[in-house]
Symmetry: C2
Subunit: 332 residues, 2 copies
DNA sequence: TACATTTGTGTAAGCGCTTTCATCGCTAAT
DNA sequence: ATTAGCGATGAAAGCGCTTACACAAATGTA
């Protein structure tokens, strides 16, 4: 990996400018010269140094992405969508997970120096640093975060679907609800979901936190909740993983879902369909979130767009078995 | 992000060499000069260009990783372990997913040009390219692949644990087996598992392929298998995800697991513990695989080691409910 | 006081490319 | 036959850093 353009040029008996032109197809090169150059390239197995190219071009041809963790399907799916599109656009993807990291600021600044633009999940990055990145002119796309100036934002609709979900559940006749997996930060996805359901259910719902949004934490919290005296009729979970935990907790306690308690999730991860009972949830276009982030970043980087977009992708209520049979839909 | 070391030098009234020395702590700098430089750095908000640094240092301070896909917990877990350690060692991680990609060769060569070393999963990369990478002197660590010269290899033990698993199942008294998720490539993990169980079970086991190693594919294949005339007594699956699919298929067909048919997985992903019945499986240290890959690569890159290591991590049989109660262990 | 070290700094040569600009044959038009 | 114009090429100036080397000033030693 260390033969340079100079050696190629020497071997082909031309200047490095000609080699460069031949390889990139910029500027005219005589057919015979091209042959010689390509032959030399072939023989020496030359690949232009990415560093040299980037330095000269003034761009990295790479995108960064910052997420808290990769546990669970949500971030993974978004990442896949992101990487796929970035790759399509000729950009590599540099990842950074912030979970359990000290000196996140340094890591992110380093990352920012290696890429042409950054996608950042929700509130992964401290606000002062966000402000600084904006000030420095770093191209930014936030995923699942409220709009801010100086960056694109991209998220899924939460409030309206939360209301729809809540309304659907009241249609079942439930009257006592718990929101499992209380929001950790204001303005994030879960917070919006919480606000949405509360707007419909008001005092009929109370929030119970989990340590994290994982199956395990959902299981623990649900077990305690369902084992208590005032068991709710329906548990609206912050996301599918917490809901899967709740399903397991109910089973362990010998409770029937949805007979004894209804459970709903959010995201529609693959396991939601496979759970027993299959999980009623809200589908969120995770891959598309990633894909769009990569596209948005590309527009910002290439300069195809110089204003900032704030997009909200639509979600869909997916009714399965875990919320029970809806009275109106019941067969006679 | 475009203030250079020259501007800092000018503002501080020193040469760029002094700025560099101050920032990196190489060479002596008078206290007063240091102050001036740091002040200028602060005021201008200077961050050294990664490109400039890399070009001058002759290293990227970045590692690559190539995987087929990120669907399912296996690759994700390995990736997390890898990223964590790489980051600890001051290296960024550049990812490349090959699934569905044409021109994989170009992508990988490009990747190789952006990093100091590459971790590659199993048989993600065509053999001729592997040979070429080795020839070019690219630092390589393969994850879950048989040893080859010119690269480190790292994998989990498969054959012995497969034998142990098979032996355990025969202890249950089962006599007709199916291996669900037949190997796609020779010498990969699944192939070794298959060879391991066959060594014990011989003609008593037959292999049935799935399209991919996913829940869905496992579900489809298991449904067909279990719906057929000669239903096996036990299904040994290539991995946990296929096994989860098999569990669902059994449920859909009204079959009891392990009563009507035993099912086992491989990997011990989180869902294995949560499945009903909980899945008997073989635990594979996925994060550690990633972590070790990052460490090995670091040794190769820094030159701390110039031979190649071929490591096999140990696995552990995890007996849960899906294989039935073992006769000897049965309570009176 | 004279000389050998250290300290502190600057100069300049890379690192491997891309690209502008100038040059030099040619062909085509006058 | 002249000249404008084009095609093909090379020289050289960056791109933003690190660092070997040179040198002057300050310090220590005899």
């Amino acid at each position: 990996m260390d033969v340079t353009i100079y050696e190629v040029a020497k071997r082909a008996g031309v200047s490095i400018a000609t080699v460069s032109r031949t390889l990139r197809g910029t500027g005219p090169v005589a057919a015979r010269t091209r042959e010689k150059v390509l032959k030399a390239v072939e023989e020496l197995n030359f690949t232009p140094s990415r560093l040299g190219v980037s330095l000269a071009e003034g761009r990295h041809a790479a995108n960064g992405i910052v997420f808290p963790d990769l546990a669970g399907p949500y971030y993974t799916e978004v990442l896949l969508g992101y990487e796929e599109v970035a790759s399509e656009l000729g950009r590599s993807v540099v990842i950074l997970s912030t979970k359990g990291r000290t000196k996140v600021n340094d890591l992110i600044k380093d990352l920012a120096g290696r890429v042409d633009g950054l996608a950042i999940f929700g509130h992964t990055v401290p606000e002062p640093l966000v402000a600084e990145l904006v000030r420095l002119g770093v191209r930014l796309v936030f995923i699942s975060r409220e709009p801010l100036s100086g960056a694109d934002t991209l998220r899924s609709e939460n409030i309206a679907s939360a209301r729809a979900l809540a309304a659907h559940l009241t249609g079942h006749g439930y009257e006592r609800f718990t929101f499992l997996g209380a929001p950790l930060a204001s303005q994030d996805d879960v917070d919006e979901r919480w606000r949405g359901v509360r707007a419909v259910l008001g005092g009929a719902i109370e929030a119970v936190p989990t340590r994290e949004y994982t199956v395990d934490c959902g299981f623990d919290a649900a077990k305690q909740l369902l084992g208590g005296r005032a068991r709710p009729e329906a548990i609206i979970c912050s996301d599918d993983e917490v809901a899967l935990g709740a399903l397991l907790a109910a089973e362990e306690l010998g409770l029937d879902v949805p007979g004894d308690v209804a459970v709903t999730g959010w995201d529609d991860i693959m396991a939601a369909r496979h759970a027993r009972p299959a999980l009623t949830t809200v589908r969120q276009p995770m891959r598309e979130l990633g894909a769009r982030a990569a596209r948005a970043l590309d527009e910002l980087i290439t300069g195809a767009r110089d204003t900032h977009k704030h997009l909200i992708l639509t979600t869909a209520l997916v009714v399965r078995d875990s919320c029970g049979h809806h009275p109106q839909e019941a067969a006679p």
